[in-house]
């Protein structure tokens, strides 16, 4: 016999007992900002924040080749637009590659779901041109393409653009740690290099 239902019922009963007579809490105020000021240059801000967190920023489709640098094998989601596959690298579509296969690639090229200017955050939700989570994790270099209409100023504007129940990864700069003397150092387990390609139109 499993003790599970008992634990569930007991914890719920403890909660109800603890809250006996507590009533309802007031409705939370919502006075905070949900967007930036209308005159904010969100693209410029996104670039500033990306660079601040040690990501490299490139402009235009043609810069994808340069962003990939000297990567020889580049994994891509199977639905990545053909015209993004630029440069001399071998593009390996992810059709269920093994971990070892992924570990053998030099870089990954994807799109994204949204980008937040104020914090320099790129958001992935495994939607179009993004692929599953492992492909943006195992390779040491991530090149991500951001289209102009995917850029928003504020986090509150980005969340509705995501599929809330799809696996999400929010990325702000390359892998980093603050564990040594609370100073930020880039490069631990995630991709140590993050290149962002901005498409203006």
């Amino acid at each position: 016999m499993s003790a599970r239902p008992t634990a569930r019922e007991e914890i719920l009963a403890r909660m109800r007992r603890a809250l006996d007579g507590a009533g309802e809490a007031p409705v939370p105020p919502r006075e905070y900002r949900r967007s930036l000021d209308a005159d904010a240059d969100i693209t410029a801000m996104l670039i500033d924040r990306l660079v601040d967190y040690k990501a490299n920023v490139h402009h235009g489709l043609a810069s994808i080749a340069a962003a990939l640098g000297d990567a020889k094998r580049v994994v891509v989601p199977a639905d990545l637009p053909e015209d993004w596959r630029l440069g001399g690298a071998e593009f390996v579509p992810d059709t269920g590659l093994s971990t070892a296969d992924l570990d053998g690639t030099d870089a990954v090229l994807t799109g994204c779901a949204a980008a937040v200017a104020v914090s320099g955050t790129i958001m992935l939700d495994t939607g179009a041109a993004q692929g599953r989570r492992a492909i943006t994790l195992v390779p040491d270099h991530h090149v991500v393409v951001v289209r102009r209409e995917q850029i928003v100023g504020h986090l509150a504007e980005a969340l509705p653009m995501l599929d809330p129940v799809a696996p999400q990864t929010w990325i702000s700069g390359p892998s980093a740690t603050s564990d040594i003397e609370l100073q930020r150092v880039e490069g631990v387990h995630g991709p140590r290099r993050l290149d962002v390609v901005l498409l203006e139109d």
């Binding site: 914890i11 570990d103 104020v118 989570r133 929010w170 003397e181 609370l182 631990v188």
Partner: protein, 473 residues
């Protein structure tokens, strides 16, 4: 040259009363230097990025109110989370206490055919001592967060919520890697980047081959059944993505009503904890997704004393804590003693109100480990009024008999103006021998607790009341 590192936790007695343990920590100059340096760094960073947002106070008000709402609707939200997570393919378990949570986790590991797990940094698993339990039943848990790895290799205990190895500086960390890692590169320097690289190499194969991972969660969204893990290094992503089985141990207070509530908390948490506008990586997952990440997904909802905290009208605000550590970093007591002296997995101001509530009857000395300076309340992103709860807990807790008698006597005098005036006069007369000097330098116990570092002024000859009476004539 590599110096043998003695784990700080082995020197600072965890079971001793706070003042005693604190005294030991105060006598460790390197520890104090490391703490002062690290907390000073992070204080400035936090203040900068919090100052960037012109609606910071509104965000705090909202976060505080959302958490209060969650506490008031906890049964309903927990069941809603369970329903949605289950529908998305997760298995939800409930654990009344640490023992039950550990047993469930160990059973899942065995059923997955594994005898070791990789771990994402998690306070809940520290709290239930999952690693120790696993070891006792023949399983092995490998910490993968850099600071947790340092602490585990050093055979030490965490001394900070966010940065468990905050009490070590880079040179000491190099020495720990050198001596304990086994595969540390030859000639490892104390450059933080080199140390991070050593950790990457050490853990990479383990990440790519692990069958089971154990995590906590920063948030559990009731509306969607999603869990959220906030991290920096990518070790979290590795654990949450690569293994086939994922076990997440989540305190019931981590619930949020709606996915959109993240727009509040994900502004407050990174800015308050690491002083960044956003942490490098945030993972959100909902049950299991075919072809992407773990197929065998478990959530263990943990009580372990939380419902007891919930029952205290004033004290329950401690359950709003999002484990950012801002209160530790600004606390003048924590800065000088470090975390081990608190003798609990949650140190600092938040620990001083959480530990005695989670484990009633233990840690009664912790609510006194504060000068009530209020710096913690000022920075808390969810506006937990820590000084208020500290005073509240002092008022609940037991009192030492001698102190109680002294306090009662003081009250008896102060409640009667005539007695009070007589006492003032008596003090003036009694202190006459020291009047010329103006102060006392050495008093017997318990006055010695004061005069150990401070002189005590003696009452002057004339008092205000005489002066006032004189000029009223």
């Amino acid at each position: 040259m590599s110096t043998r590192i003695v784990p700080a936790a082995s020197l600072i007695p965890a079971d001793a009363p706070f003042p005693k343990a604190a005294k030991v920590a105060l006598g460790m100059p390197q520890l104090r230097k490391n703490l002062a340096h690290a907390t000073g760094t992070i204080r400035a960073k936090r203040a900068n990025v919090a100052g960037e947002l012109d609606d910071w106070e509104s965000l705090r008000d909202t976060a505080s109110a959302i958490k209060a709402d969650v506490q008031h609707r906890l049964p309903e939200l927990a069941v809603e989370f369970e329903r949605n997570a289950t529908a998305a393919g997760a298995r939800v378990h409930w654990a009344r206490d640490a023992q039950e949570a550990n047993e469930i986790a160990a059973r899942i590991v065995r059923e997955a055919g594994a005898d070791e797990v990789v771990k994402v940094k998690s306070m809940a698993t520290q709290e239930i001592e999952l690693n120790e339990h696993f070891e006792a039943v023949g399983l092995k848990a490998f910490e993968t967060d850099l600071a947790e790895l340092i602490v585990q290799l050093a055979e030490d205990k965490p001394s900070h919520i966010l940065v468990p190895a905050i009490h070590y500086n880079r040179t000491e960390i190099r020495d720990i890697f050198d001596q304990k890692m086994g595969d540390a590169p030859k000639g490892l320097t104390d450059e933080p980047a080199a140390l991070a690289e050593a950790a990457r190499q050490h853990l990479r194969r383990r990440f790519l081959s692990a069958k089971v991972a154990v995590s906590g969660a920063n948030f559990a969204v009731a509306e969607t059944g999603s869990l959220v893990v906030v991290e920096s290094e990518g070790n979290g992503r590795m654990c949450l993505t690569m293994p086939r089985t994922l076990i997440s141990i989540v305190g019931i207070e981590k619930l949020l009503p709606r996915f959109a509530d993240l727009e509040v908390f994900m502004q407050l948490l990174p800015r308050s904890s690491t002083g960044e506008r956003m942490n490098p990586y945030t993972s959100v997952w909902t049950g299991a997704r075919e072809g992407d990440g773990p197929e065998d997904v478990h959530v263990i909802l943990l009580d372990n004393g939380r419902t007891g905290v919930l029952a205290d009208e004033v004290g329950r605000q401690a359950l709003s804590c999002i484990r950012c550590s801002a209160c530790l970093n600004v606390c003048p007591v924590y800065e000088r003693t470090g975390g081990h002296a608190y003798g609990h997995v949650y140190p600092g101001p938040i620990g001083a109100i959480l530990a005695p509530q989670l484990e009633p009857g233990r840690h009664d000395d912790l609510p006194y480990a504060s000068s009530l300076c209020g710096a913690c309340y000022e920075v808390c992103p969810v506006k937990i009024n820590i000084p208020e709860v500290l005073v509240h807990l002092r008022q609940q807790g037991p009192h030492q008999a001698g102190e109680r008698a002294a306090m009662r006597a003081a009250k008896a005098v102060m409640a009667r103006p005539r007695l009070w005036r007589a006492a003032l006069k008596a003090a003036r007369i009694g202190s006459m021998p020291w009047r010329r000097k103006g102060f006392l330098r050495r008093l017997p116990w318990p006055g010695s607790k004061w005069t150990v570092s401070r002189d005590l002024p003696v009452p002057p000859k004339e008092d205000f009341r005489d002066w006032w009476k004189e000029r009223q004539r």
